[in-house]
Symmetry: C2
Subunit: 399 residues, 2 copies
Amino acid sequence: KIDGDRLWNSILETAAFGGTPDGGVRRLTLSGEDRAVRDWFRHKAETLGCRVSVDAVGNMFAVRPGSDAEALPIAIGSHLDTQPTGGKFDGILGVLAGLEILQTLQDAGYQTRRPLMVVNWTNEEGARFSPAMLGSGVYAGVFDRTYAESRVDAEGITFADAIEAIDYRGETPIGEPRFAAMFELHIEQGPVLEREAFDIGAVTGVQAMRWYDLTVIGRESHAGSTPMDMRQDALADAANLILTTQDIARRHGGMATTGQIGITSPSRNVIPGKVTMSLDLRHENDDTLQAMEQDVRAAMQRQCGERAVLTGIWDSPAVHFDAGCLAAIRDGAAAAGASHRDIVSGAGHDSVYISRVASTAMIFVPCKDGLSHNPAESATREQCTLGAQTLLNAVLAYG
Amino acid sequence: KIDGDRLWNSILETAAFGGTPDGGVRRLTLSGEDRAVRDWFRHKAETLGCRVSVDAVGNMFAVRPGSDAEALPIAIGSHLDTQPTGGKFDGILGVLAGLEILQTLQDAGYQTRRPLMVVNWTNEEGARFSPAMLGSGVYAGVFDRTYAESRVDAEGITFADAIEAIDYRGETPIGEPRFAAMFELHIEQGPVLEREAFDIGAVTGVQAMRWYDLTVIGRESHAGSTPMDMRQDALADAANLILTTQDIARRHGGMATTGQIGITSPSRNVIPGKVTMSLDLRHENDDTLQAMEQDVRAAMQRQCGERAVLTGIWDSPAVHFDAGCLAAIRDGAAAAGASHRDIVSGAGHDSVYISRVASTAMIFVPCKDGLSHNPAESATREQCTLGAQTLLNAVLAYG
Ligand SMILES: NC(=O)NCCC(=O)O
Ligand SMILES: NC(=O)NCCC(=O)O
């Protein structure tokens, strides 16, 4: 049985790595803060009798031997990196619950047949280097290692240089160690479980998502002497497109978000001549997402003609998780005395790519006001404990 | 008589200081490029027999003695700094025409009664340090020297540090040397003269302008799991306000421009929690500008309540130039054989503040497509020559 206090304390302990005054965590992937929490993870796993290996993109695998030396491990995986305005829970809960499970088994002197493995995937957030779920994507063969290494952050630093700088480029070949199945525990990051008062979500899949860069070209000119009707204002066009893409998303029952925007050579008294912004489109249904993209392209053409360009940089289709893993999760929740419902994830997770190479499913716990990627992100000790207990039950049940 | 080729060559010569591949000039105030053109200006003026002095905010005064040692000089002033996306003409034409006039008088062996003075005012553009017209504003007593020195650029460098770095903090007391009148030659930066085929604009005044910082607070949350109707998206609000302020400007016959925008802690998959942007409002009439501001405040309140804050950082009321100087300009244009009309400036100029301490007026020449603050900014050799000739005639006529 999970020790909820111990789990809670480890959440508070790791929140110090990149902790911010407002109670949040800013621990961008491959930063100094990330290195610190990685060192902590390695040390902790080793004291629990694990062998820790690291692959070339920094994914960390902590393996606790099972009684059957031939059997593939069962993985418990998530991520320790955060958003710039991240909270204490997000993927962290999933990794720390894995360690808590190993501790619980050790205290009970219990050896599983299959080895157990706790995984910390690199750059799940996609905040410093796009796209998201990069480490698990490389492991699963969705992305090349060289593609990952060539990704560049806002300061112009490559993934390759960043991983070198924190000394976390490991020797383990990509795609190893292999495992039979992965379970991922995560906060919901949405409002459904809290609103409907469920303890646990059995995550049946993840909606489709696409990332784009959107560029609008206007014409720089003087803010005081250029009549309003002679302007080609790239920012006014961008503002229109931000609102239009959100209207399109609403109409289709999907989502549209612009989280980054910049003017090239900005100046207070210059009409913007070039604006670059991000666009994140999501829908549960691949076809509808495609229709949303087409509507966005049509709106851009209508509003800006050739002056606006949309470039897709990431496309993650809808995912459906493994039925066997889901059954183990539902049973595990019931055994933990937790109320549960099925749910579809709006956020991407490492499980999305891992599900291509191993049986995979996820467990959600509620979070306050459905808030995440925010310093105020919050879940209670009891919610976290029930999630970890469900995870332990599911892992043992899956066997 | 002005040597148009010589003037043109000096425009091309100085365009090398901060010249960009697209034919523009990027010479932000107090940058290395600005230092280079300042050194060039000092050297050139000295070879024309001037004494060059520099005050504590870097304003440069090149004085050519007159026959009456007691008489106050007549100034010809403008600025050599540019926007990040600046062109070759802007204030530059006004300073170089001043030097060309001194050269013409020297070649003709002509001594004026009053001393003549060519002035290069610091940070007219307001691009690196806001507000605009900072150097002439300090000279005229509108701004404190310490206020100017404390202004900070986007990199966090203060005006004081920047002027120290290029070694242009001079010894001349603020407000000296005094002068009787100032004439400023500038490209129109608008479409009127070109459209109506006039050679010269006699600038009767400058419209009112105000600069603001506008901040919108939203709530950071996840781009994939936060339903559209549960969002507090600071960027969506900002986009709405950009469009609304421009509608308000159109309705009042004024102008509204947002030239800078930034998200605090931007990330592709995070709904923006805080957006900061600039707002530039202008109108020929002070009262109407005030009404525009009130409409903007009301719209902000309606759309965002307390989540949006407007902070005024600069207020430059409408200006009416000196009748005597204007008469000299109209006569000077006629004597140069140039067609001319009266015109009001949409852009701010050093003459705005100088008109508070000396008789002042301005001369506009047309520019291609009314374009400025753009690398493609352009005026012909003939247009520049007619402008400089009108300037010379006006200076001599004003006597
Ligand atoms: N869980 C999570 O925040 N993942 C980041 C990828 C996404 O944007 O959905
Ligand atoms: N002339 C000019 O571009 N001045 C800068 C001040 C303004 O924004 O009008």
